[in-house]
């Protein structure tokens, strides 16, 4: 089967700092990819390159068969992106913002209105849909971002920390939405710090550290290779941060000194 995301020899540097080093990926249609790594590992940069936000990189990147260096616009029509920070025009109301985003995808006005209303209602935002988002909590903004990323019914969905700031009910709802999207054949590229969610919903888990991929496989494959019980333990072992216990001890010692 042809990969929907194909990455060969991807590298990215900012001046002298190397952010990504020789990344190779082949994602099949309908797969859910959990992309994890410590802060500054290169997760967001990878996603920004795959979604066409950063057009300058070394190597070959193809999404849905489109070369992301020369045909990013075609790919963007068919992918959805939910960024890490609640980046939206907060002086707008949710309806105004979703209408704006829908029009950029050249969706029909009536389609935008119906879909936006339905999705806002499902996320308990129907009472706030005509209020400016300046007063919204982080979780409320994140919900609007999720809707904006899915409004045009994309084939591949890139999510960068989508659960950050959401309340417990919304987290459960988003997890369920991701499962349903997976069942309907969508490809999901999911970056998160919340290991148990990644562990549960991902077909494949990719761990990146210091710009390099250090593990790539299903949870059971990683499990067998590392002899660790949970994804958290696998992650800790592979990223070299296994001195947590010692650091915690020193922390307490510093408090009591």
């Amino acid at each position: 089967m042809e990969s929907v995301i194909s990455v060969k020899g991807l590298s990215k540097r900012y001046q002298k700092a190397v952010v990504l080093k020789d990344i190779n990926l082949a994602i099949q249609p309908g797969e859910v990819i959990g992309y994890i790594g410590p802060n500054g590992a290169g997760k967001s940069t990878t996603i920004k390159i795959l979604t066409g936000i950063i057009p300058e990189f070394e190597g070959d990147v193809n999404v849905l068969g489109f070369d992301m260096r020369t045909q990013a616009l075609e790919a963007k029509r068919r992918i959805g992106y939910i960024p890490e920070n609640a980046a939206l025009y907060e002086t707008l109301t949710p309806m105004e913002y979703l209408s704006f985003v829908g029009q950029l995808y050249q969706l029909d006005k009536s389609v935008i209105t119906v879909r936006a209303n339905e999705l806002l209602n499902l996320f308990d935002l129907s009472n706030n849909k005509e209020m400016r988002m300046t007063t919204f909590s982080k979780g409320m903004r994140q919900k609007v971002l999720l809707i904006a990323g899915l409004l045009h019914n994309p084939e591949i969905i890139f999510l960068d920390e989508p659960l950050s700031g959401l309340d417990a009910n919304a987290v459960i709802l988003v997890k369920e939405i991701l499962v349903q999207l997976k069942n309907s054949g969508k490809t999901i590229f999911y970056s998160s710090h919340i290991m148990d969610v990644v562990e549960k919903i991902s077909d494949k888990i990719i761990i990146i550290n210091k710009g390099e991929i250090i593990a790539n496989g299903s949870f059971s494959e990683l499990n067998n290779a590392s002899h660790q019980e949970s994804l958290e333990e696998i992650f800790t072992q592979l990223t070299g941060n296994h001195e947590h216990h010692q650091v915690a001890e020193q922390f307490i010692q510093a408090l009591t000194n």
Binding site: L73, Y89, F100
Partner: protein, 555 residues
């Protein structure tokens, strides 16, 4: 308004489509950005509005129209054509440049497009065209408001032909301002970091706000100035260094048929710098601007954490703190407030223009007479005007005290409630001392130097008495006003009823203390007798403020 301007954009649909721009997407982006402009908190309307229908941009345009009326009056009243046109074009260039830098820089340097629009199927041509269209429409509105009345007056006073030429030079001046701003940004972005760029823009905003406040005072007064009565003003050689004089010189060719070399060169400069410079920037630099802008938002490279160091000139303040604050809560509040006063850009934008305005008012107070500056300075010592200058320091303390509680990070104020603080007055005292030592002391020192030069030894007792008098009044004002901890108040809470009465009460109070000072100074040994009473009163109020209990605090 938005609909009207978009209809205007519709006229150029063929041009956009010829350039490969997706016109539907362009209109969506421009309409949304204009809607956000209307809701953006501008420099002059700083308060956050929660009213859905508020339109701060329309208010901004109204202010520009009023400024335009002043300009129209200058055009009408000033007899020298060259001077009138020079003032008009100076104002256009300065206002457009400063507006672009101060109010519009948040839009020009908006990196949120990188995460909001770039992931969507919008081509870079469409996004660039939408950005340029948005900027042009913004300037059209600002220029329309500022130049409409003066241009109408020009048509009436100088005739249709000159009126049309003035429209042309107005457009050239706008183009020059755009080039200037664009060039400045490119220069700054090339040599400074994003943070420094923001700081520099912050200083421009402060200058702009001060200029706006000062303009209302200075513009009407300029009419009576001798220079404006000069009907025989001719273009000096240095006109070639002053862009507004290029425009005025060019217009004078047609107005009085002056064909001297300087007029011709002015005309050439007006066209070549405005249009040529703009062409040069758009041709060679606009792409690097867009790239740099994209870098601001998307660069995730790890940068070494620079330690924020206090400027050496402020280090004296940190020695002072050990002298004037008690260790613990009070010193903590002092340090927090001092850091905010020095670093918080929004706070500086609210405070610095008020201080600048204070100097403008002082200048107006001193030099308001229709006499040469030398004569004013020579006669100054015979007037008791220095007492007004001494007590104007209180206005500054009051302005800063009113702002120091307000912060966008007001939620961080939970620490005051969480910490085991028995006497919250110590926090208030620390903040009050920070305001005094950061701003009041240095500026009072400047006043002291100026007053000592003019009034010499006669004013020493006034300066000492006034110093304590200012402290006393600021303590009364602090005790009268609602008590918030520093940086703990939500910006929108500021506009509460009852503030006007308190402001009036403090103004009456400072007037009373100033008048008391004035009359005591008239009596022999008056100040000497009054001084101990002043000290005792100040000490009583000082202790009272320091011992304020939790029940008096709003949090």
């Amino acid at each position: 308004m938005i609909r009207f301007l978009l209809t205007f954009v519709d006229l150029f649909r063929w041009l956009y489509e010829m350039m490969g721009v997706n016109f539907g997407q362009l209109k969506t982006i421009v309409a949304t950005k204009m809607l956000m402009d209307n809701r953006r908190t501008t420099l002059r309307f700083n308060q956050k509005s929660t009213n859905e229908s508020s339109n701060s941009f329309l208010w901004t345009l109204a202010i520009y129209t009023i400024l335009g009326a002043f300009l129209a009056y200058i055009v009408f009243a000033v007899p020298s054509f060259l001077i009138a046109m020079s003032i008009y074009h100076s104002y256009v260039i300065v206002m457009v440049s400063l507006t672009l830098i101060s109010d519009f820089s948040s839009v020009l340097l908006d990196t949120s497009d990188n995460t909001i629009i770039l992931p969507r199927p919008v081509s870079s041509y469409t996004l660039l065209a939408a950005r340029v269209t948005h900027i042009v429409l913004y300037i059209v509105q600002i220029m329309g408001a500022l130049a409409l009345l003066p241009i109408i007056f020009c048509f009436v006073k100088f005739g249709v032909g000159m009126g049309l030429l003035i429209i042309l030079t107005t457009l050239l001046s706008t183009s020059f301002s755009l080039m200037l701003t664009n060039g400045l940004y490119l220069l700054l972005m090339r040599f400074t970091s994003e943070e420094k760029l923001k700081t520099i823009i912050n200083y421009f905003q402060i200058v702009m706000a001060t200029l706006m406040m000062g303009a209302y005072q200075f513009l009407p007064r300029m009419i009576t100035n001798n220079l404006l009565g000069d009907t025989f003003f001719v273009l000096p050689w240095w006109s070639l260094l002053a862009p507004p004089l290029w425009m005025a010189g060019f217009l004078e060719i047609f107005y009085s048929h002056s064909y001297s070399w300087i007029h011709i060169v002015c005309g050439l400069f007006a066209f070549s710098f405005s249009l040529g410079g703009f062409y040069f920037i758009s041709k060679y630099f606009s792409s690097s601007f867009a790239e740099k802008l994209a870098d601001l938002g998307t660069s995730t490279a790890v940068t070494p954490n620079k330690q924020v160091k206090m400027k050496s000139s402020w280090s004296g303040l940190f020695k002072l703190k050990e002298l004037i604050t008690s260790p613990g809560i009070e010193r903590g509040a002092f340090e927090l407030t001092t850091a905010a006063l020095m670093r918080d850009r929004k706070l500086k934008l609210k405070i610095y223009p008020s201080i600048g305005y204070l100097f403008i008012l002082a200048a107006i107070l001193l030099f308001n007479k229709n006499e040469p500056i030398e004569a004013t300075l020579a006669n100054l010592h015979s007037r008791s005007i220095h007492i007004i200058i001494i007590y104007s320091g209180f206005l500054m303390i009051q302005t800063i005290m009113a702002q120091i509680a307000i912060s966008d990070d007001f939620k961080a104020g939970w620490v005051y409630s969480a910490a085991p603080i028995v006497q919250p007055g110590h926090i208030l005292m620390g903040a009050w001392k920070a305001v005094l030592s950061t701003f009041f002391l240095p500026i009072y020192l400047l006043f002291t130097i100026f007053i000592s030069i003019i009034w010499r030894v006669n004013a020493v007792d006034d300066l000492i008495f006034g110093f304590v008098g200012n402290i006393l009044v600021s303590l009364v004002a602090a005790l009268l006003s609602e008590k918030y901890f520093p940086l703990s108040m939500e910006p929108s809470v500021k506009n509460q009823s009852g503030n006007f009465i308190k402001v009036m009460a403090t103004i009456i109070l400072i007037g009373a203390v100033g008048a008391g000072h004035f009359f005591l100074a008239k009596l022999s040994y008056g100040l000497l007798v009054g001084f101990p009473i002043l000290i005792v009163l100040t000490a009583v109020l000082y202790n009272r403020y320091k011992n304020i209990s939790w029940s008096k605090i709003t949090y």
